[in-house]
């Protein structure tokens, strides 16, 4: 009897423990987000100067380390290791190359290459397997040098891919349009005062096409204020041209939607 109780209680305890450990999200409360406070930034540079987030920093450091490792390892592989291997047995390898290349369909080229190989035998190393490796490495290297030069923008691109525009890019655009938009003051307070405008942009930020999304509302009776609001928004876009868009990633923002909302300003 006692044994049964003991078994039962241990199993129960076990289940409770599993539940507590494997379902932690059940105990978590929903996150209370504080209200969003909008801040107008006055001077904004084109590029983000915000220091990288700790996570991103770690990743960047890792990449840097990797780069260093590769660049240190690569030269010895080519120069030191392979030379001694290649030099003592040139004939064998040439034969191998010949054999390999005879199997291929273009014998002419092979002949040339073989000749060259024999001429510069001592200086260069021609392990057929390592050729492929060399080619691959050179690719890697160029890619890594590219990474080095474009490091910041590429990192930005990554974050942008996730969120659209970066905060400072969005703020720059907002601040610009805030300055251009004269809100018509006679609008009714209690109406829906949202105008959505879809833009097609050129790389320099000038507008190719602008389209009001709720166009049907423009000419509805009793919605005269909407036309006025939409026109004021279009004027703001025209006045602000060219828009202050990021210098990179045109593909991302060539189609842009601006939501003009006057409710906040008119205290609705």
């Amino acid at each position: 009897m006692i044994r049964n109780i003991a078994i039962s209680s241990t199993f129960h305890l076990f289940i409770v423990l599993i539940a507590a450990m494997s379902l932690p999200f059940l105990s978590k409360k929903p996150i209370d987000l504080p209200p969003i406070i909008s801040i107008e930034l006055i001077q904004i540079t084109d590029k983000t100067n915000i220091p990288f987030a700790p996570k991103a920093k770690k990743i960047i450091e890792k990449i840097k380390k990797k780069e260093k490792l590769v660049s240190e390892q690569a030269p010895p592989k080519i120069v030191k290791k392979e030379k001694p291997d290649a030099v003592p047995l040139p004939d064998e390898k040439i034969e191998k190359v010949q054999k390999l290349e005879e199997k291929k369909q273009n014998p002419e080229k092979i002949d040339n290459e073989v000749k060259q190989v024999s001429e510069f035998e001592k200086e260069e190393l021609f392990d057929p397997n390592s050729i492929a490796a060399l080619i691959d490495k050179s690719k890697e290297e160029t890619a890594e040098t590219n990474k080095k030069t474009n490091k910041i923008t590429q990192d930005q691109d990554r974050s942008i891919d996730m969120t659209g525009l970066s905060l400072s890019e969005e703020d720059a655009l907002k601040a610009q349009i805030f300055g251009c938009w004269s809100i018509p003051l006679g609008l009714p307070y209690n109406e829906n005062l949202l105008v959505r405008i879809k833009l097609k942009l050129k790389p320099d930020g000038s507008v190719i096409r602008s389209e009001i999304l709720d166009h049907a509302r423009m000419n509805k009776p009793g919605q005269g204020f909407y036309k006025v609001l939409a026109e004021s928004a279009l004027r703001a876009i025209k006045l602000c041209q060219p828009l202050r868009v990021p210098t990179t990633g045109y593909e991302r923002w060539k189609d842009l939607q601006l939501n003009f909302d006057a409710r906040e300003m008119l205290g609705g």
């Binding site: 107008e40 659209g164 004269s182 018509p184 006679g186 026109e231 939607q257 601006l258």
Partner: protein
């Protein structure tokens, strides 16, 4: 585990690829819209004809100045200096060079043409969107030459409506009590003028005291308070014909009259035996109806624009406060609860607000509140001011303010002032004499 991540990635990838970047623009500037009012073009022959009749040199320029002043008064527009204009009026009216107008930062442009045809004044005008480079509106009017100021007001109304989305209030008149003389022996006359202070006419001679004139919202009738055999009575006056009559035959004093929104009834206070209550009288069949029945003083009634409710002033709680009831007198509810005394409630023509005068600690305020009493906002504060009256579009209030003229407090002057709902655009309305108790008419043309 790996598959799960892959699955999530597969779900997320397409979203990433097609997401359209959206930017929310929640703020803009509230600075006035820069607008260029080009002088209306006029040919030499018409110019001479107008000069003969009206003694003004350039009718085109004069009308554009009327429009410009009206727009400036609103506080919503910033008319640009005419000296900066690069294009001549006649060419601008045909096809403006938008680059030139954009150069002086104009966002809208008004052009026009004035001609003298068959002893009549013909005015056409166009409103242009400078930035979009297109015409927004084009209209033409014909009228007698002496009406030229009204043409300016009508143009302003149309432009205002097109650019702000609400009706204008420029082709309107204001009736007020003109005051002259010392405080003890002041002569008060009824006077009427255009909303910009021009074309003043006096409607009474000044023999009797007149008070609280109010416009009929549908036509050019006026109701006001005057003394008849030393008894204050509500009168009715037709401005067009000059015919005056007493409203109803009440056995006591009647005061604080106002029209119903359809203009068919007059609502007023009737006092007898130290108690005053609110009554209405139908102007067609002269039937009198009692609305309130309370031992307190009920006065200053004002209808809501849909005629369903009445706001009024009562001291039934001990102090003067604002109340709202249904138009049959039922369901009385107090709506003012702030500190101080509230008076002269007026329901906005738009229906959303009630304007009032408030007295607190020796100061007078003009303010507005929502019709349930919430959202009280005091627009202006002064030593003595009262009697707000709404512009027909419910955006501007006109009231009068008394100020001391010397330091001893002897002698005072009363002037009309206007303030808009933002509370920032306060302006003196010029009148020939001292003025009080203004009332704004509805639009003369629709």
């Amino acid at each position: 585990m790996l598959f799960r991540y892959l699955f999530i990635l597969i779900i997320l990838l397409p979203i990433k690829a097609f997401a359209l970047i959206e930017v929310d623009i929640t703020r803009g500037n509230l600075s006035p819209l820069p607008i260029a009012v080009s002088p209306l073009s006029i040919d030499e022959k018409s110019k001479e004809s107008f000069n003969k009749i009206l003694k003004n040199k350039d009718m085109g320029l004069e009308i554009s100045i009327v429009v410009e002043n009206n727009l400036k008064q609103t506080g919503l527009f910033n008319p640009l200096n005419k000296n900066a204009f690069l294009q001549k009026p006649d060419i601008a009216h045909l096809k403006p060079r938008f680059e030139d107008w954009a150069l002086i930062k104009a966002q809208a442009l008004i052009t026009g043409k004035v001609t003298f045809i068959d002893e009549k004044l013909r005015v056409e005008f166009r409103l242009w969107d400078v930035l979009a480079a297109k015409e927004m509106m084009a209209l033409a009017f014909t009228t007698v030459p002496s009406n030229w100021r009204r043409v300016g007001h009508i143009i302003t109304d149309k432009v205002y409506e097109r650019l702000t989305g609400e009706k204008g209030y420029f082709d309107t008149r204001i009736i007020y009590v003109s005051e002259k003389g010392k405080k003890v022996s002041r002569i008060k006359k009824l006077a009427i003028m255009d909303q910009d202070g021009f074309n003043t006419k006096y409607l009474t001679l000044g023999n009797e005291l007149v008070l609280t004139p109010r416009f009929n919202p549908t036509n050019q009738m006026v109701t006001y308070l005057s003394y008849f055999r030393n008894l204050p009575r509500v009168y009715l006056l037709d401005i067009e014909t000059g015919i005056q009559e007493v409203v109803g035959d009440f056995p006591g004093m009647t005061f604080a009259p106002r029209f119903s929104p359809d203009g068919k009834k007059i609502i007023m206070s009737f006092a007898m035996g130290g108690n005053s209550d609110i009554y209405t009288m139908d102007l067609e069949n002269r039937i009198v109806e009692r609305i309130t029945n309370h031992p307190s003083i009920d006065t200053s009634p004002s209808y809501s624009p849909n005629s369903k409710y009445i706001c009024f002033n009562s001291d039934r709680s001990g102090y003067q406060q604002i109340y709202v009831m249904k138009s049959d007198g039922s369901n009385v509810k107090r709506i003012s609860f702030g500190k101080g005394i509230y008076g002269t409630p007026v329901w906005s023509p738009r229906g959303d607000l009630i304007a009032f005068t408030k007295m607190h600690k020796g100061k007078f305020y003009i303010g507005v509140m929502r019709t349930d009493g919430s959202g009280e906002r005091l627009l202006t504060e002064n030593f003595y001011q009262e009697a707000p009256s709404w512009s027909p579009n419910g955006r501007v209030l006109i009231f009068y303010r008394e100020t001391k003229t010397d330091e001893k407090g002897e002698g005072f002057s009363a002037k009309l002032w206007s303030i808009d709902l933002t509370g920032y655009n306060e302006r003196l309305v010029e009148t020939e004499t001292d003025a009080s108790d203004p009332s704004w008419s509805s639009l003369l043309s629709n």
